[in-house]
C-alpha cells in the first residue's frame, strides 16, 4: 500500500513539474507590427519556447514553454532588448495561451 502511495505521489509531482509554463510580459515601445516581428523571432530561437503571442494593443508578449522547460528572466530581457524594446514586467502564470488569447482578443495560430 505504501509503495502504491509513494509511486502515485512521485507520478503527481512529476506531472506537475512537467507542465508547460506561461510567461506574460509587459513590453513598452511596441507600436509597429513590422518592427515587433523581432520579438517573436528572438523568443522562438529559445529551445524552451513552444508558442509566442504578441499584442501591440495590450503591450503584451506571452510565451508558452515546452513541457517541463522554463526560460529565465535574463534570457527574456535579452530577447526583448535585442528586438529593440523595453521589458517592464514578467509574470509566470497558470493560464493557458488560449486563455491569454481569449482575453486579448487575438486569433489563435
Amino acid at each position: 500500500m505504501k509503495k502504491i502511495l509513494a509511486l502515485t505521489t512521485i507520478f503527481l509531482l512529476a506531472s506537475v513539474s512537467a507542465r508547460a509554463e506561461t510567461i506574460e510580459m509587459k513590453v513598452f515601445g511596441m507600436v509597429c507590427g513590422f518592427c515587433a516581428q523581432g520579438i517573436e523571432s528572438n523568443l522562438r530561437k529559445n529551445p524552451a519556447t513552444a508558442e509566442v503571442v504578441v499584442s501591440l494593443e495590450n503591450q503584451l508578449v506571452a510565451v508558452k514553454t515546452k513541457n517541463g522547460a522554463s526560460i529565465d528572466d535574463a534570457s527574456l530581457h535579452k530577447a526583448i532588448k535585442d528586438a529593440g524594446y523595453d521589458l517592464k514586467t514578467i509574470a509566470r502564470t497558470d493560464r493557458t495561451l488560449d486563455e491569454v488569447r481569449t482575453e486579448i482578443g487575438a486569433t489563435a495560430k
Binding site: G33, F34, G84, Y85
Partner: protein, 246 residues
C-alpha cells in the same frame, strides 16, 4: 523554404527598384532589404545586417537624376547605421538614427557642343541640358564619395512623423536630401493584421542633380515582415518603397 523565397524576392526587388525611408535597423540578427523608387529624381537599393539592435552595416546603390535626363549621379556605398537613442513608452516610440558611409561615385552628364555666351540653351533645367534637344556628348567622371545622414522619428499606432537629412559629397558634386514625413493610420493594426497608413512626404533636394521640393501622398502597407509604400507626387510621378526583413 519560405525564407529562401523571401530572400530571393527581396534581392530581385532590390535589383530592379532602387533607398528607403524606413528604418535602417529592425532588430538584432536581422537582414533588411530596402528599395526606393522616385520617378525622375532618385532610385536606391540597400541591404543591411544588424548584429545588434542598435547598429547595422550594409551595402547600397543610389542614383540621382535630373529632370532633363542629361545628368546622373551614381553611388555605390558601404554604410554604418546607428540607433543613437530610443525612447520606448507604453503606446509610443521615438528614435534618433545616424548613419555614414563611403563609396565610389560616378557622374555622367551631357555636355552641349556649342554654347553661345548669353544665349539660353534649349532644354536647360538648372544647368542640366536635355540631350534630345541639343547636340553634344556624354561625359563620365568618377570619384570617391562620402555620405552622412540622420533621422528623428516619433510614432504611435495611429500617428507617424519623421525628419531625415542626408548629405552626399565628392570632388565632383555635393547633394543634400531633406525629408519630412507625416502619417496617419485610419485604424490601429496589430502584429498579425495588415497595417494601413496615409503618409504625406516632402523631399527637398539641394545640389547636383536638381534643386527643388517634391511633395507626395503615399499609401503605406505592412504585414509581418513585408512593407510596401507607394503613391504619387503632386506632379503625378510615381514614388514607391519596399522593405523586407528576415
Amino acid at each position: 523554404m519560405n525564407r529562401k523565397l523571401i530572400f530571393i524576392a527581396a534581392i530581385i526587388a532590390a535589383l530592379f527598384v532602387h533607398h528607403a525611408h524606413g528604418r535602417p535597423i529592425v532588430y538584432a540578427h536581422s537582414t533588411t532589404v530596402m528599395a526606393d523608387f522616385s520617378a525622375g529624381a532618385m532610385h536606391e537599393a540597400a541591404i543591411s545586417y544588424a548584429p545588434r539592435h542598435n547598429w547595422s552595416f550594409g551595402l547600397g546603390h543610389m542614383m540621382l537624376e535630373s529632370h532633363t535626363r542629361g545628368y546622373y549621379e551614381d553611388f555605390n556605398y558601404a554604410r554604418l547605421n546607428y540607433l543613437a537613442k530610443r525612447w520606448n513608452r507604453a503606446a509610443s516610440q521615438a528614435n534618433v538614427w545616424l548613419w555614414g558611409g563611403v563609396g565610389n561615385s560616378n557622374l555622367t552628364d551631357y555636355v552641349p557642343e556649342t554654347v553661345i555666351p548669353g544665349e539660353p540653351i534649349p532644354g536647360d533645367d538648372h544647368g542640366h541640358v536635355d540631350p534630345t534637344l541639343v547636340p553634344g556628348y556624354w561625359r563620365e567622371r568618377q570619384a570617391v564619395s562620402w555620405h552622412t545622414g540622420g533621422q528623428i522619428d516619433y510614432e504611435t499606432r495611429r500617428l507617424y512623423s519623421a525628419l531625415k537629412s542626408e548629405y552626399y559629397t565628392s570632388r565632383l558634386f555635393s547633394h543634400r536630401v531633406d525629408t519630412v514625413q507625416l502619417g496617419f493610420a485610419p485604424y490601429e493594426h496589430d502584429v498579425d493584421s495588415l497595417a494601413t497608413w496615409f503618409v504625406v512626404s516632402g523631399v527637398r533636394h539641394t545640389g547636383g542633380s536638381h534643386d527643388e521640393t517634391e511633395w507626395a501622398l503615399l499609401l503605406r502597407f505592412f504585414k509581418k515582415r513585408a512593407w510596401l509604400e507607394a503613391g504619387s507626387t503632386t506632379e503625378g510621378k510615381l514614388r514607391a518603397n519596399l522593405m523586407v526583413s528576415f
